[in-house]
Symmetry: C2
Subunit: 361 residues, 2 copies
Amino acid sequence: MTSNLQNLWSEVRELTLGTTSQIDRLHTPPTPLQFLRHYLSQNKPFILSASVATTLQWPATTLWSSTSYLLHRLSSSTVSLHLTPTGNADSLTLNPSSTSLCFASAHVQKTSFSDAIDAINGSCKHNGLGGGFVAYAQQQNDCFREEYGELSGDIDSDVSWATEAIGGLPDAVNLWIGNELSETSFHKDHYENLYAVVTGEKHFLLLPPTDVHRMYVRKYPAAHYIYSEETGEFKLEMENPPRNVPWCSVNPYPSPENKEKEMSEFPLYHNGPKPFEVTVKAGEILYLPSMWFHHVRQTPDSRGLTIAVNYWYDMQFDIKYAYFNFLQSLPAPHEPTSHSHLTNENASDGDQKHIEESTFL
Amino acid sequence: MTSNLQNLWSEVRELTLGTTSQIDRLHTPPTPLQFLRHYLSQNKPFILSASVATTLQWPATTLWSSTSYLLHRLSSSTVSLHLTPTGNADSLTLNPSSTSLCFASAHVQKTSFSDAIDAINGSCKHNGLGGGFVAYAQQQNDCFREEYGELSGDIDSDVSWATEAIGGLPDAVNLWIGNELSETSFHKDHYENLYAVVTGEKHFLLLPPTDVHRMYVRKYPAAHYIYSEETGEFKLEMENPPRNVPWCSVNPYPSPENKEKEMSEFPLYHNGPKPFEVTVKAGEILYLPSMWFHHVRQTPDSRGLTIAVNYWYDMQFDIKYAYFNFLQSLPAPHEPTSHSHLTNENASDGDQKHIEESTFL
């Protein structure tokens, strides 16, 4: 079984994705037919360089470099701010009441935009001695259109070639304002994702859905951070009633002291084909296909911010999706058969759409 | 493993293909974007009704109903004629020197078109007592453009919406002239297939590539018929050096006396979801997606002929293809692991492209 899986991982790279860690780079936007034929239908990512025909023509690319412009336009807006002790939300962390891991969501609070900017700029990892937090203005609930309507004239309301190819407008448009302290752990979304960076840079690691066993998707009990402004302390509270979330176990950047342990615990990830590495710069757009596992870090611009907008389009639940679910239903190599609990989509990993259901739908 | 496979077979139907034995029917041709979005990219078949916008506008639809027109235009043409004792070419038959099965190809001869028509009209299954043959004018080597050039003005040289969607002209255009005695056994092709019927009807059984284990693809020694005009007898000659051909073992229409045996030998086929059933009538076009298993029978027009043209377009060897090869590499339920010899595409079943390589490429 391991060798069948290994063949799959190599074959999808040899046939279509390429065997380096680079993805295709386009210098002009694809036509809708080209996008469908070469990328969407093949579930294959690409990056679109900045050019007059891409996001570079957005007013946002210049306007949003000015924090005072943003503060002025959003002076009466309330936005969702995610607070975590160290910049890792929706990620695995030690369960406070035991030595096992849990899936921790951020403390989410609604604040004025100017408070959000202050919080992001004032972010500093909690050092365990009291004080410190990392703030990330984002909410994957169509937050750009919901919370940042005052900026709507600054960007396109959709990606025209994607809209025409897919045959419908985006389901959600999300804005992300953060800095280098925030990091998004490996997960996948049930959306076709067009990810545009406006200022700063985003660094993606990408793995195709064929590599699902390399992610060591396991179920973790859900918890969320609660932040007290008074004490400046975080409390990690387990959800009650308890809920299990299937999530990727792999940390692609383990600390030096954990590296050996991670490598022996997750050998299929660490010894298999390297993930695709993509840096998306200001003015560039990444097509991040549905069901691809992605891990995201960021570099801020000169004023210390990374701003990005992503468009989520409906995916087709077609034969590729059926194949994926079948693949995922097979027990991982060298794991007890009980892991085949991940038989159906209800138990799919990192499913942002489902996890966010309560807030998003 | 059986239940994982069964889940796959149901899920692909529930998600995308439908749970009846019908496929989508369109009444007007899709745009290239619609074709790509809803069918090609999803590896999903459909039938296009006859309408002014489809093959019905071909001169062929009226002209080819006249045998004298065909005889006149093709008076100096040489065509490939396939002869078999009972109308089954590229199918399994008893190996004459043993009680096991072999994969038998037709006796192929080049004849004048008028001799071909005489042979098709004079077809009559060999009764085992001497005499009789079934003739089928066809050759999957781009025969329409190679052998029937005189008719090229009567049909479109391509299917315009498919050409635009796929981004290239057909690799091959094949003509098929036969009658109800010829039947094509279950197999798949590595092409996107647009199958247009000009006169008579074709009856397809279709199964998606996800159902590969239900086809009981096994390796059979290759043989070919040799027909002697003098004696009117067929000889089945094993290929030398021996060559094994992976082929589908299932006969969807077993004779009453064989039915019980077939059902117990191939339970996954006979007890699983029914194949999709499609009758393509004159003027209609079937989109038969790459890698789909298909079995074909036909009904002739009033003069006793079925004439069809199919366009083979290049397929994308993409993530769907990688998933298929992975699926096929898994041992069939309740079969010894040795069957996992079908690990790679070199051993794929019913691979018309590879089998025909010597004549086609």
